[in-house]
Amino acid sequence: MTDITAIYNGKKISQIPEDLFIPPEYLRIILEEFEGPMDLLLYLIKKQNIDITDLPIFPITEQYMRYISIMEEMHFELASDYLVMASTLTEIKSKLLLPTEAEDEEEDDPRANLIKRLLEYQKYKNASEKLETLPRNFRDFYVVSNAVDSKESKIIETPDIKIDQLKVAFLEVLKRAEIFSTHNIQSETLSVRERMSLILSVLKKGDNVQFEKLFNLEEGRLGVIVTFLAILELVKESLIDIIQNESMSRVYIGLKS
C-alpha cells in the first residue's frame, strides 16, 4: 500500500497526510484502496518501517482504531471485517498487559498468530502482483482461430434466442464488470444509443452534415431531444466534431478527423 495514487481536485495524492486531519473526500479515496483490514494493517506496519516479528502492538492498535473511528464518523460503509480485526488487536493488547509466566513467554506470544497471518497475506499479495505481470491472451499474445471453412457461402444457422435472455445476459455482464477496474458503464436510454449508431452511419468521412439535417421534425419534440442527446453523447465519446466557422454561421457535424 505504499504507492497509493489518488487524484483529488487535480492534485495527486500519494501519501496519507501525516497529521490525522484528513478531509473526508481524501480519506474515502484512500480507504477504498485497501483490500481489507489485513491490507490496512500491513500498510500501517510498513509505514513505520518496523520489524514485523517485533510487532509493536500498542501504537499499531492505536492507529488502526483511529482509522476505524474516522471511518465510522464518516459513515463510511465499514465492513464488519474491520471491526473483527479491531477486537483481535484489542484482545492481543490486553493479553500483553497481563502478567505472564516468564518461562514460556516465547511460545505464548499473543501476537504470534497475527504476525503469521500478516506474513501469509503478504505472500499471496506478492503472488497476485506476479500474476498481474504474466502475459495474457489477447493483450500480450494472440491466438489464431480464424482460418475459415473452405465452403464459400455457408448457411448460417440463426440462433434461437429469446429477448429476455438478452436482458439477463446484459445484467450478468454488468455485475461482472464491477470486478474489473473499468467502471464507465452506465446505461443511457436505448433510444439515445440507437440514434448514436444511426448518426454515425449517416456521417461519412470528410463529409460534414448540417446540424439541422440530423433532425427529423416529424418525430416531434421527443425525437428532437433524443437526437440532440445522441449528438452530445457522441461528442463526449469523441466520435464526432461540431464545426462552426464563425459565430452565428451554420453548424456542421462531422466524423472526428
Binding site: N137, F138, R139, Y142, V144, S145, N146, A147, V148, D149, S150, K151, E152, I156, E157, T158, P159, D160, I161, I163, D164, Q165, L166, K167, A169, F170, L171, E172, V173, L174, K175, R176, A177, I179, F180, T182, I185, S187, T189, L190, S191, R193, E194, M196, S197, L200, S201, L203, E237, S238, L239, L255, K256, S257
Partner: protein, 173 residues
C-alpha cells in the same frame, strides 16, 4: 526473430476476423517503401509456401483471407459439432453488450466482459447481419464501432431499440 513482409502479412491475415484488402494492409504496415505490388507478390509467394499446407489465401470480395483447402470438410464439421457453443453464453453476452451499449468497439466489449472476445462470435454476428460497422473510434488502431441492425430487431419482432427490455438502475446494483 526478424519478421519478413511475408510473415507480417501472414500473421495479419491469420489474426484478422475479416478479409483484409491490400489497402488495409498498407495502412497497417505504415511503411512508404512498401507498394501494392509488394503486397500482392508477397501474397502469391505465401500461397506457394503454403502449397503443402492445409490452408491457403483466397481472394474474396473484400480482400484476402486464409481458408481451409477442400477435402477437410469432414473433420471440420466434426470439430464444429462438438465444440459448438456457438450460441453460447459468450455469444449472448456479446450481442447484449452491443445492443445496450452501442456503438461499441471490440475493446469496449472486452473491458466490460473482462475477457477477450471470440473472433468467431463477431464474425457470426456480422454474417447474420445482426450487427454492422458504423464507424471507427478516433483512437490508436482506429477500432471499428459496432451497432445492431434492423435485422436484429426484426428477429425479436421489435421496431426500435427502445422496445428491448429496459434495464433499470436498481437492477444493475
Amino acid at each position: 526473430m526478424n519478421h519478413t513482409l511475408e510473415n507480417i502479412i501472414e500473421c495479419l491475415l491469420l489474426i484478422s476476423d475479416e478479409p483484409l484488402s491490400v489497402n488495409q494492409i498498407l495502412k497497417i504496415l505504415d511503411d512508404k517503401t512498401v507498394t501494392k505490388k509488394n503486397i500482392e507478390s508477397s501474397i502469391s509467394n505465401l500461397n506457394k509456401i503454403f502449397e503443402n499446407r492445409a490452408i491457403h489465401i483466397s481472394h474474396v470480395a473484400s480482400g484476402y483471407r486464409f481458408q481451409a483447402k477442400p477435402g477437410l470438410e469432414n473433420y471440420i464439421s466434426k470439430l464444429k459439432d462438438k465444440g459448438t457453443n456457438k450460441f453460447s453464453k459468450a455469444f449472448l453476452e456479446t450481442i447484449s453488450i452491443i445492443a445496450y451499449k452501442q456503438p461499441v468497439t471490440r475493446g469496449d466489449i472486452e473491458d466490460i466482459r473482462g475477457i477477450s472476445v471470440n473472433a468467431n462470435i463477431i464474425r457470426t454476428l456480422l454474417e447474420l447481419e445482426w450487427i454492422k460497422v458504423v464507424g471507427q473510434r478516433d483512437t490508436p488502431g482506429k477500432p471499428e464501432l459496432f451497432a445492431t441492425t434492423s435485422k436484429f430487431l426484426d428477429y425479436f419482432d421489435k421496431n426500435t431499440l427502445s422496445d428491448l427490455p429496459e434495464i433499470s438502475d436498481v437492477e444493475t446494483l
